[in-house]
Symmetry: C2
Subunit: 196 residues, 2 copies
DNA sequence: TGACGATACGGAACCATGTCCCGTTTAGCA
DNA sequence: TGCTAAACGGGACATGGTTCCGTATCGTCA
């Protein structure tokens, strides 16, 4: 799945060195620009920061979603791996769920505009959508199932819908110091709670 | 506050008849286009539907927010007035709150993209923001206070933040039949609940 | 009723941004 | 060192918001 697959067996010829270099440069530049101007910063800005032409971006990352995925892949993976770890950390499943949602929220609100674009219906963001869901929904499902099995929460809310909801709650949090996405997300989870 | 004020005392000269006619035409056209293409439909489309030039739109409604406000003013008013009515309808304050949030959600999800634009930070939407908050936040505050006074919910969540949260939950609901904004909002409100 | 000034209008022009194309450059290999 | 395919850069095009300016119309006053 990672990029070393490209030259697997050295049969298919590997990408040229300058292409690999440019991809790295682009990722770094995009990460910087995303922090400064949000994930929907103009393509030209990213290209300029990387010192390449705009076409080069499209060549490496056909859609903006591809670029965003590449930039944040590590952090999404970390979030996904935190789920099982939390479950096994000794707390109750409900506590694990709460903490994991906290991690998810923290990730989203620190990425300018990512939550908003995650919910966008514009063509070209399906890949982003799919990636997040593929990677994180199973984790969320497992946490929900565990908490439901322990009788801590109701079990009639699909993980997919819950994640959409939590993602939505994170929108705009970065501009508004009075808006506490984490707290609202916690409230949403609390709404799942069953009486002991 | 309504437009008959413009000619109050007949001192300031009233707007020309064609201008008033165009404003009405524009509102009707905008309402139609908003339903068909969402509240961020191209200005040109609205102008074309109304059979006027684009500048005419800007003359009557300097920002898109002004147009949106004008189109939905009646419905927002109705929502605002429903709050006190629900409180006095005999149910518990918590039930009134739940139902009112339901009305708010129903309003938002049936307006293509309105929830999203409500949360947008782009300059020019402050007016929309301010209008919704000015009109609806006091209503929400009153419902929250009543439910808190009755000991039904916790009282440490500001109405403003709750409304932002509920508004966010409505984003994207129109495209996704599996996403039930109303239910998630109900869950959020349930999270406020105190044990009896 | 006719003329005049203010108001309002329409559409073209301008700017920003995403996207694509094409002529040029360069890495990698023989 | 020379060749070819990969990769590149920047300009061309499309879309949509915003503004400008010459023209048309309303409403009033003589």
């Amino acid at each position: 799945m990672n990029d070393s697959d490209r030259g697997a067996g050295r049969a298919a010829r590997p990408r040229r060195a300058d292409a690999r270099r440019n991809e790295k440069t682009l990722l770094d530049a995009a990460a910087e620009v995303f922090v400064a101007s949000g994930v929907d910063a103009p393509v030209r800005d990213i290209a300029a920061k990387a010192g390449v032409g705009t076409a080069t971006i499209y060549r490496h990352f056909p859609t903006r979603a591809d670029l965003i995925i590449a930039v944040y892949r590590h952090q999404v993976e970390a979030c996904a791996e935190a789920g099982p770890a939390l479950l096994e950390s000794g707390a109750t499943p409900y506590e694990a769920l709460q903490r994991w949602i906290g991690l998810f929220v923290d990730f989203l609100v620190t990425k300018h505009g990512l939550a908003a674009v995650l919910r966008s219906d514009e063509a070209g963001f399906e890949a982003l959508h799919a990636y997040f869901l593929d990677r994180l929904m199973p984790v969320c499902t497992r946490l929900l199932d565990a908490a439901a099995a322990a009788g801590e929460i109701r079990s009639d809310i699909p993980a997919l819908q819950l994640m959409h909801g939590v993602g939505n709650l994170c929108i705009g949090a970065e501009h508004d110091p009075d808006y506490d996405a984490r707290r609202l997300a916690a409230l949403l989870i609390a709404g799942l709670r069953l009486p002991d």
